[in-house]
């Protein structure tokens, strides 16, 4: 019997080697270990064994059984792996084919850039202030040190609703509203629409957007204005951006400055885009005029402040290389989808 068992083991090993698939394995298992299998047949002869031989043979039989079982399992995993790899091979895709793209809606370029600007200033502790677009003449002009006969009114070509109400020509009107409502410290930006009587062309629109900034606190200096705008510009345009502050005149700031940024195209060397200057006009700024502060009830012996205003369209157009402002208001899907 012992020989029978050993030869069965050997036979099993050979058979397993030749097993091609899971069915072959199963046939082998049933043929050897099944109820009607070889092992069962062999073990039927156990009755003829002596009491000494019986446990020895029994043990051997168990060893052979578990040997075969293990071998089957091992072979099974080899075959399974092979089978899976066959299947995977059959499933091969052309991964260079296009994907099924979910449509992601996009914010308008003006919003995208404005959000970026807002985030920069919010990070610097600025809140976002708002004011009406249809505004009293007082907030748009008078309170900003631009009385009725001021020549600066000529340059602004304002839309009037009536003698006292205008479509605001600058977001600076929000400065006054904020200072009337809030005591210092004040640190706000006020983005919004402004209106000027310009016909539509590639660089003009009667409706456009400005972002106003206002800081009023104890000990605010012109250096703070420079530092704030530099931080802002470097965050927006990268650390290579160089700012140039030069004197200018606005009725509601003193000293006033116009701020240029180094040309994006030539980096300051001078090219066609910057008309050889190396710099591009970017925004107006200055220390809030003492008359403006005083009119809002702010004590100029204690507080000082700075303000700035920049045009959003200009930043967006430069950033996205848009050559015609009309694209921004035409809302052609082929345009909107580019960003």
């Amino acid at each position: 019997m012992k020989n029978q068992l050993l030869s069965m083991k050997e036979k099993a090993e050979n058979a397993l080697k030749n097993a091609k698939n899971l069915q072959d394995l199963e046939d082998i298992r049933v043929g050897l270990l099944g109820k009607k299998g070889e092992l069962t047949a062999i073990l039927r002869g156990m009755g003829g064994l002596s009491a000494e031989e019986r446990p020895i043979i029994g043990q051997l039989a168990n060893e052979v059984r578990s040997f075969i079982e293990e071998k089957i399992e091992a072979q099974k995993s080899v075959l399974l792996a092979a089978e899976r790899s066959e299947k995977l091979k059959a499933e091969t895709l052309d991964v260079t084919m296009g994907g099924r793209t979910p449509i992601i809606g996009k914010t308008h370029p003006l919003t995208t850039v404005l959000d970026e600007v807002k985030n920069i200033f919010v990070g610097m502790g600025f809140s976002i202030a708002e004011g009406p677009e249809v505004e009293y003449d007082y907030y748009n002009f008078e309170a900003l040190n631009i009385p009725k006969d001021h020549p600066a009114r000529d340059t602004q070509d304002t839309f009037y609703i009536n003698d006292n109400v205008v479509l605001r020509s600058q977001t600076s009107s929000v400065q006054i509203r904020v200072m009337e409502e809030q005591k210092p410290p004040i640190r706000v930006i006020a983005p919004g629409r402004v209106y000027r009587s310009d016909a539509v062309d590639a660089t003009h629109s009667p409706v456009f957007h400005q972002i106003e900034g206002l800081v009023v606190d104890k000990g605010i200096t012109m250096g703070d204005l420079k530092g704030t705008l530099e931080t802002f510009m470097k965050t927006l345009y990268g650390n290579d951006a160089v700012l140039r502050f030069r004197p200018h005149h606005f009725p509601f700031t003193e000293p006033s400055a116009e701020v240029d940024v180094s040309c994006f195209v030539c980096g300051g060397k001078g090219c066609r885009v910057c008309k050889g200057e190396g710099f591009i006009e970017l925004l107006g700024a200055g220390m809030v005029h003492p008359k403006v502060l005083e009119r809002c009830g702010i004590d100029t012996s204690v507080y000082s402040g700075f303000a700035f205003g920049l045009g959003l369209e200009r930043i967006v157009m430069r950033r996205m290389n848009i050559d015609d402002m009309r694209h921004l208001y035409e809302n052609d899907l082929r345009f909107l989808n580019q960003f």
Binding site: G105, F126, P151, P206, V207, M222, K226, R246, P290, L333
Partner: protein
């Protein structure tokens, strides 16, 4: 303001400063240079030549061959011009010459005859008819007194750097050569001197020639008059013409040129009257009387009114104060005695008059910025000095100077420490004092007095700016604000807008931005009712045109225009949104309500329920669970059967639906357009963003399908309400998966198939329990809505 750089040398020293350096330095001290041009830059190797001999070209009828002396040699040049004669002086472009249009001249042969250059017309030299109004067609014939071989740029003073300044409205003093020379001197640390004009005079007394009175002392702050006699009218000298031309002013005659020259030099507009035309030998400064007219020097008859300040003689107006003189007293070729006027008029008055007359002149644009009365006297004396210098007349002794209330000097406290603290700088006191003195301020120990021509310097901050701009804005150290920590938060409505944009983008919507004013024809395009409150608009009184004349009262029009445009652009489908402002008039005299709305619009491969789904997703995202959609059949903009008003309780917060085909026709679109408009403030009011965790169910849910037959008029919302009410706490969801009309369903009825999901948080529901509830639901549906199970 354009001035030739060389003129500055009369008062300071700009020799050795390159145009580029000048441009940069002046810009950085506040006199923005727009550009520096040299008109002779592209005009090389063109010289004067004397024609010695002219012979016919052997092979061409229309060409002649000239022998020309160009100074150091004689050249043979072929020309086709008809107007050349022997002995004339002409411009000769030599071999290698460059002309302003880019043409390069080379020696060559014309019909076999060698030509060593080209004779030029004024056009070829880059000049225009305006420069030579009397020139005949052909070659430009020059003055015979010019030597041969002279560079043509020197003949016409073209080799000159002309600086174009952008002068801000607060600095009328810089609309003058002297003002800019002062700025130049301070910028470059150069000396600055203005000579006091010296007038010899010829005796006599002005009072014997003219009397002057100022009736309107409010409008005329100062009026100076001087008389000159024995005037000989002629062209002004070359040097003066050259300077006027460089500044963009055309030479007329010596007297008029002197007045313009003074305006450029001193920034003080002047006028000269022919004294014989002043009736009663009198000048009176007064308001115009109603009905008076005056033909101004530009040959236009002006109708005057009593808001306008006039210069009049004994009877009639002879000039519009500060704007333009009258033709009736202008300088003529035979003028012999003149009255010079140098006056200061009130800025707003000149500005208003110029606007009313639609006549903006070099003079009015200076006056309207506010001129210095102290400048009138030096200016008029300088004009008289020039008369004597040019030898074109004699100055009668005496001056008439009517000067009202002289302004008190403005004494401003001077505190260097405070200035440094304000600017964030560390500028020493000496620099401050030197700078202010160089700018003609009086500097005392703790106060300064700005010069009379600097009315823009009013207080501490202005003084700080004066110092800073010379010190250099670029030298201010950049600092970060200190002070109390600023606490920045977005307001709830700002956060809501951010959220709405994010949600709509996630719903595949693209944001648009449209104009907030529009054409009032939108009322009719949207088929608004005649009495619709939306027809009541904020209207612009001075619009660019009707198409942009009213502030929109709805965002649907902007959306429809955008949709129509996109359809025209052949964009087959689009999903668009805008966070728009609409402008709703309130009480008379008050500002309108500026309401923010969400505007949605979709078309192409979509239907009503796509848009409704977006709105529902939006509401879910912002936490608005109480909104209901009710059929709206009366809104004329929308399809009567495909429109819902969006409500929270009784409050309507928006509208949603398919645009009425008639409205589509008005916008020229033939697609189904779905549009919604929802009030943002209402969302803010009703949305509850207080979501908290709900325990996850431990027991399985049971689904039951209910196919109901109901009348056509029964709404899904009604069915859902009944089911929810009856299923109570076990309600876990309801999906409408089929709506069917047709065979097997009776006429005017429909089948609505729902999948109802029931679930208990406490146990697994048994069949018996589920059946019980479903039966209750069905009974209620039958009782309340007449629904039967199919």
């Amino acid at each position: 303001m354009k001035i030739p750089m060389s003129w500055l040398n009369d008062y300071t020293d700009v020799n050795g400063i390159t145009p580029l350096e000048y441009n940069h330095a002046m810009t950085m001290t506040g006199s923005k240079v727009e550009g520096i041009e040299n008109p002779g830059e592209n005009l090389l190797n063109v010289v004067t030549g004397k024609i010695l001999e002219i012979t016919q070209h052997p092979d061409a009828d229309k060409l002649v061959v000239c022998q020309i002396n160009v100074g150091d040699k004689t050249l043979q040049i072929v020309t086709g011009a008809p107007n050349v004669k022997v002995g004339q002086t002409v411009p000769v472009a030599l071999d290698g010459a460059l002309l302003p249009d880019g043409t390069k001249i080379k020696t060559g042969k014309l019909r076999g005859v060698e030509s060593a250059g080209m004779l030029c017309s004024y056009e070829e030299l880059g000049m225009s008819e305006a420069d030579f109004p009397d020139a005949e067609y052909g070659i430009l014939i020059l003055d015979d007194s010019l030597p041969a071989g002279m560079d043509i740029r020197d003949v016409f003073h073209l080799n000159e750097n002309i600086v174009d300044f952008e002068i801000t409205s607060n600095r009328p003093d810089c609309l003058s050569v002297i003002g800019l020379a002062r700025e130049t001197a301070v910028t470059f640390g150069k000396p600055f001197t203005v000579k006091t004009p010296e007038v010899k005079g010829c005796g006599g007394d002005i009072k014997d020639y003219v009397s002057i009175s100022v009736e309107d002392t409010e409008g005329c702050l100062r009026y100076c008059g001087k008389v000159a006699k024995n005037i000989k009218i002629s062209p002004s000298p070359q040097w003066m013409q050259k300077r006027l031309k460089a500044c963009g002013i055309r030479a007329i005659n010596n007297i008029v040129d002197i007045t313009n020259y003074i305006m450029l030099e001193y920034g003080q507009p002047m006028h000269a009257f022919d004294l014989r035309d002043l009736e009663g030998s009198a000048v009176c400064v007064r308001r115009a009387k109603a009905g008076e007219t005056l033909t101004t020097l530009d040959d236009v008859e002006r109708i005057l009114d009593d808001s306008m300040l006039m210069i009049c003689d004994g009877k009639k107006p002879v000039g519009v104060a500060g704007v333009m003189g009258g033709q009736n007293s202008e300088i003529k070729d035979d003028t012999t005695t003149i009255l010079f006027e140098s006056a200061t008029f009130k800025a707003p008055m000149v500005r208003k008059t110029a606007r009313k007359l639609g006549l903006r002149t070099e003079s009015s644009s200076r006056y309207e910025k506010g001129l210095d009365p102290e400048n009138t006297l030096p200016a008029i004396m300088r004009a008289c000095e020039l008369i004597e210098e040019l030898g074109c007349g004699e100055i009668v002794d005496g001056i008439i100077d009517i000067y009202g209330q002289k302004e008190e000097p403005n004494v401003i406290p001077f505190d260097p420490e405070k200035i440094n603290k304000f600017l964030g700088t560390d500028i020493d006191r000496k620099f401050m004092e030197d700078t202010l003195r160089a700018l003609d301020f009086v500097v005392n120990k703790d106060s300064v007095i700005p010069p009379s021509f600097r009315k823009d310097v009013e207080g501490f901050a202005d003084v700080a700016e004066e110092i800073l701009r010379i010190y250099g804005y670029d030298k201010i150290p950049s600092t970060l604000m200190c002070g109390e920590t600023a606490h920045s938060v977005k307001t709830p409505s700002q956060k809501l807008e951010d959220k709405v944009k994010e949600l709509l983008c996630a719903c595949s919507m693209n944001e648009i931005v449209t104009f907030s004013f529009t054409n009032p024809n939108y009322f009719d395009k949207l088929c608004l009712a005649a009495d619709s409150p939306l027809r009541n608009t904020v209207t612009i009184s001075n619009p660019l045109g009707e198409e942009n004349s009213v502030m929109r009262t709805t965002a649907i029009h902007s959306m429809m225009e955008t949709v129509a445009r996109n359809i025209n652009f052949k964009n087959d489908s689009a999903k668009l949104f805008e966070l728009a402002t609409i402008y709703l008039p309130t009480e008379e005299g008050k500002l309108p309500e500026e309401r923010r709305v969400i505007s949605l619009g979709i078309y192409g491969a979509c239907d009503f329920f796509d848009l409704k789904g977006i709105v529902e997703a939006l509401f879910d995202g912002v936490g608005l669970s109480s909104a209901q959609f009710r059929p709206e059949t009366e809104n004329p903009t929308f399809h009567p059967g495909r429109c819902a008003s969006i409500c929270v309780g009784k409050k309507e917060i928006g509208i949603l639906g398919q645009i009425h085909p008639a409205v589509c026709d008005n916008y020229g679109v033939d697609k189904e357009i779905y549009v919604a408009q929802i009030n943002l403030p209402d969302i803010l009011t009703y949305a509850k963003n207080n979501k908290t965790y709900q325990p996850l169910p431990k027991y399985p849910a049971v689904n039951r399908d209910l196919a109901l037959i109901v009348d056509d008029s029964v709404l899904a919302a009604d069915i859902e309400t009944v089911i929810k009410k009856k299923a109570k706490k076990l309600f876990a969801g309801l999906t409408l998966f089929d709506v069917y009309k047709g065979k097997q369903v009776p006429e005017s009825k429909k089948s609505m198939a729902y999948s109802l999901k029931l679930q208990s948080m406490e146990k697994t529901l048994t069949d018996v329990e589920v059946n019980e509830i479903v039966q209750e639901v069905l009974t209620a549906l039958e009782k309340e809505l007449g629904a039967t199970l199919r």
